[in-house]
Amino acid sequence: MAEGYSILVDTSKCTACRGCQIACKQWNQLPGTKTQQLGTYENPKDLSFDTYKVVRYSEGANGDGKAYWNFFTEQCRHCLSPGCMAAAEKDEIVQDEKTGAVLFTPATKDLDFKATVEGCPYNVPRQNPKTKVLAKCTMCFDRITNNMIPACVKSCPTGAMAFGERDKVLDACKKRVEELKKTHPKAEAINPNDVRVIYIVTDDPKKYFKFAAGK
């Protein structure tokens, strides 16, 4: 299915304010987990049953010796053909017809977690160690089916995130990539034909996050 909604994440406009990371916790009423400073701004260190969204920070020096610091707000891509569903036998994981959101149900407790994660090209699903239920971003299903945009998109101050009907998002994505190519020849949209959460990057996706473009 190619209709429904999409989220465009233009990393060239992201300042890593982490408004989206916190807004996600707030809307979904997820607890703050115990973390430690590990020598990076990135925290918590990974997605978890209690964390659907993590801003990834990636730094280094370019060929010309100049520093770069890339920000990548990681979340479920809501694939058009979700790999996570391959391991599902019944309705443990559903793909909503109208919106395209890929949703984990409480029945995911019966799924083979390892197989589900392996099926996901982006290493997104996480399991509650006690209940065995799986969790991830819902595209704010409860919001988008009530005329509200996802909490993360709502919180973004710079317009790095945009939500809308998929065809319009794809148009905006194409235009933005063309514009960015004038100054950043490596600008690209990551797998726009396969995912609903489409990231625009201006450099090698691996310089943003190891799974930015897939495992």
Binding site: R18, Q36, Q37, Y41, N43, P44, A67, W69, G159
Partner: protein
């Protein structure tokens, strides 16, 4: 800000220096992005490659505390390459003014220096005036005593190579910034500066901003859309707090705190009101008497009469030369000279420089009242690290306060917009709005004075009618009193005003006691039209994002200050594509102009544009500051270099150096070889007392860290994530090492200098393993004009814990 947040979108070149806007003012980047969308360039100059740098078109590193060298080099570049906007410089700045013969500058010192007093006799910096008191001018700018030529001479020493050796900025990076910014020195391009504590918290803090003001004047960037000098204020209402004079040296509306030698109102007014002999200078501060008398009327109402100098005698006075700013206050407290202390909405135990001294000072108090929404390191200082509660006599009272959403009132943002907010929810428990706490406190004090007390007049006569029918503090009553009202029936021009009417706007304030006004710059905020701060109209008639019907901006809803400099002599916009104001059919259209007078080409009625200076011109030469009329590079009090490469004057010659047992500082000391600096992170607010209790924020930013370069890490055998100790002459603390490519060693000639940086949002009270405040390390030395501490450049050591 001379401009405002939304106006950033109108800029062509945005310089972010002394600020990390992306981290600390995230919303600003919305407008930066809009500017970038139309092709604007973003420049980030910072010791560390920050979130702002990551978005910048040009990044240049510089060693903390060397901004004047950097900017002085830019001034030289602009002058040498004729990149300045000549029409603007000649007509609107004091470039053509002739400076008096006594002025001199030699080897880092200006004329009039007294080494014993560590102060200048500023009279030696005066302009040359004729018999009538009119300043001599040379519009050709060729006179060697003209401001323009003196400026040129002053910065001639700031060559790119010299600057680079001081700042550590590679010459090519310097040139990239200079070239990009200087493109705005034409009539249809705008450059803006976004700065914050990275510029103010230095012993040369004010002069950092002065240096940029010079650049903005040279480029013709003052008064225009997308230009200005824009301070990103560090608190949502810190603009309001200074406007309302929560500082020792001013009264509301930036009137001067009186000094004990000014015995009468007449003396105070005579010494505070600037004079101009030039009829074409508006000299707005000539209205000083009206604002003063109206303020006194708001304090003491009917008790303030012409006969008693409107109660002037009841105002507290400073001793001559007395400075009651933060560092002096805590120094006096440390010396046991202060008995009681209200710590209101703040956390000095973590926020003040040399926090160990601050904490020890509080143990000398008899009592401390901590008004806050949470417990903090200040209220609980007596049980903090290194404290023995048994030995501390200080009695501490905790007064729980309502949070911002639990009370009604106004908040003034950086762009001078006073925005009214409603109350969303009740405060929990017995927490009360600050206004209620203050109101009840004064009612109680007045009650106690009824039984007698020393000098009761100012207390007993104080007008204190700010409660509603139920006895609660009423924000509307206060806001109305701040706007001001007529105290009697008066006729002004052909208009009749009745006693009790709100004053429409400050041009109608009077010096005869017929008006009362709590703060002249807010006069018009709450008048017969209602509460203008509560307006929420979204019209944008100019298309520039001025939104004149949204909230209300001081003064008189002017959104861009000095906007009469945005037009040519005939009143036509320098840039027709972004007209802020325009003279059309005998009147100004657009933003509220700086006064109704016709443009300068009208030789009789035309006025100069910089109405807040006595002379009417923008000041390239600024003869009012304590440390000189031109910014000059001096090293920070603690620095890594053995000498100042620009002069024999090592540090700012006018700073006050504390000499007590707790006031240690070291320069070029092998025990503290690295430059240290401090900053904030997005996730925590100031000392973190509002955010460290919040689980999602502490999850994202849980513990104290120090950012160090790979090179320094190698030198010290430190790996990313290691526990390390950071120490200075004044204290030490544990940090997690964040080893990063975003800090690089500075190459200063043959000298390699490392710099490290730390946030200052942590403290021992919560979370338990979060770490301590980096202000345990910062030095208690201040800028000679403001006394703001030099928290942004000091010397530390970093070792593996």
């Amino acid at each position: 800000m001379t401009n405002h947040w939304i106006d950033i979108k109108n800029s062509d070149v945005i310089l972010v220096m002394g600020s990390n806007a992306a981290s600390n003012h995230p919303i600003s980047m919305k407008w930066v992005q809009k500017a970038k969308d139309h092709g604007a360039k973003l420049i980030s100059v910072d010791p560390r490659f920050t979130q702002t740098s990551a978005k910048a078109d040009i990044y240049a590193p510089l060693r903390s505390g060397t901004d004047i060298a950097f900017l002085g080099g830019m001034i030289k570049y602009i002058l040498d390459n004729n990149k300045y906007f000549a029409d603007y410089v000649v007509n609107y700045t004091n470039a053509a003014f002739i400076v008096g013969d006594k002025f001199d500058f030699s080897d880092g010192l200006f004329a009039g220096y007294n080494a014993e007093k560590r102060a200048y006799d500023k009279a030696l910096w005066a302009y040359k005036k004729d018999d009538k008191g009119i300043v001599a001018k040379d519009p050709s700018l060729k006179d060697p005593k003209s401001v323009f030529q003196l400026l040129k001479k002053h910065y001639d020493r700031y060559t790119p190579e010299k600057v680079s050796e001081i700042t550590g900025t590679p010459v090519p990076d310097l040139m990239k910034v200079y070239e990009a910014y200087a493109t705005t020195g034409v009539k249809d391009k705008a450059g803006t500066i976004l700065y914050a504590m990275g510029w103010t918290q230095h012993t040369i803090g004010v002069q950092n901003i002065r240096a940029m003001s010079i650049i903005q004047l040279l480029c013709g960037n003052m008064g225009i859309a997308g230009g200005g000098v824009n301070a990103l204020r560090g608190e949502s209402n810190v603009q309001g707090s200074t406007d309302q004079a929560l500082l020792f040296h001013i009264l509301p509306g930036y009137l001067k705190a009186p000094v004990a030698t000014q015995q009468t109102l007449e003396e105070y007014i005579a010494q505070s009101t600037p004079k101009s002999a030039d009829p074409r200078s508006v000299n707005w501060w000539s209205n000083y008497p009206k604002y003063t008398v109206s303020l006194l009327k708001s304090f003491w109402g009917d008790k303030a009469t012409k006969e008693n100098g409107f109660g002037y005698a009841w105002l507290p006075k400073l001793d001559p030369g007395q400075n009651c700013s933060w560092l002096n206050l805590f120094d006096a407290m440390y010396d046991g000279k202060v008995k009681g202390f209200f710590s209101w909405g703040q956390n000095p135990a973590c926020s003040g420089a040399n926090a160990n001294k601050t904490r020890k000072a509080m143990a000398k108090l008899d009592w401390l009242v901590n008004v806050n929404i949470f417990d903090n390191e200040t209220g609980s200082f007596w049980k903090g690290p290194g404290m023995d509660p048994k030995k501390i006599k200080t009695e501490v009272f905790m007064l729980p306060a309502a949070a911002s959403i639990e009370k009604e009132g106004s908040i003034s943002n950086s762009g001078r917009w006073a925005q009214w907010r409603y109350k969303a929810v009740d405060a929990p428990g017995k927490a009360e709005p600050d206004g209620d706490i203050m109101y009840e406190l004064m009612v109680k004090i007045k009650g106690l004075y009824k039984a007698g007390g020393k000098f009761p007049d100012p207390i007993m006569n104080l007008k204190w009618d700010y409660a509603d029918e139920k006895g609660h503090f009423d924000a509307h009553r206060v806001a109305k009193a701040i706007n001001g009202s007529f105290t009697q029936d008066v006729k002004i021009g052909d208009k009749q005003y009745k006693k009790g009417d709100q004053v429409p706007a400050f041009p109608l304030l009077q010096a005869d006691g017929s008006t009362s006004c709590g703060n002249w710059i807010y006069c018009q905020s709450y008048n017969a039209d209602g509460n203008n701060m509560a307006r929420r109209k979204k019209d944008d008639p100019t298309g520039l994002g001025l939104f004149p019907g949204w909230s209300w901006a001081w003064p008189v809803n002017r959104r861009i200050l000095y906007n009469r400099a945005s037009v040519d002599l005939t009143g036509q916009p320098w840039n027709p594509a972004r007209p802020v104001v325009k003279w059309a059919d005998g009147k100004w259209v657009g933003d509220i102009p700086d006064g109704p007078a016709p443009p300068m080409a009208d030789e009789k009625a035309g006025k100069y544009p910089f109405i807040m200076t006595a002379e009417g011109f923008g000041r390239l030469f600024g003869p009012g500051l304590n440390d000189g009329p031109f910014p000059e590079h001096y090293e920070p009090l603690e620095c890594p270099v053995p000498k100042n490469l620009l002069s024999g004057q090592f540090v700012n010659p006018t700073i006050k150096i504390f000499k007590g047992e707790m006031d240690k500082h070291f320069t070029c000391d092998p025990r503290f070889p690295f430059v240290g600096t401090t900053y904030r992170v997005t996730e925590h607010w100031q000392t973190g007392i509002m955010t460290r209790w919040q689980s999602w924020l502490i999850e994202a930013q849980p513990q104290m860290f120090v950012e160090i370069s790979h090179e320094l890490a190698k030198l010290r055998g430190i790996k990313d994530g290691d526990k390390v100790k950071v120490s200075s002459a004044r204290g030490e603390l544990d940090c997690v090492a964040m080893v990063t490519t975003r800090f690089r060693p500075f190459q200063l000639g043959k000298l390699t200098v490392h710099e490290v940086g730390m946030p200052w949002c942590f403290g021992w009270i919560t979370p338990k393993d979060g770490g301590e405040s980096s202000n345990l390390l910062t030095p208690n030395v201040g800028d000679p004009n403001t006394m703001i501490p030099e928290s942004k450049a000091f010397m530390v050591n970093v070792t593996k814990a």
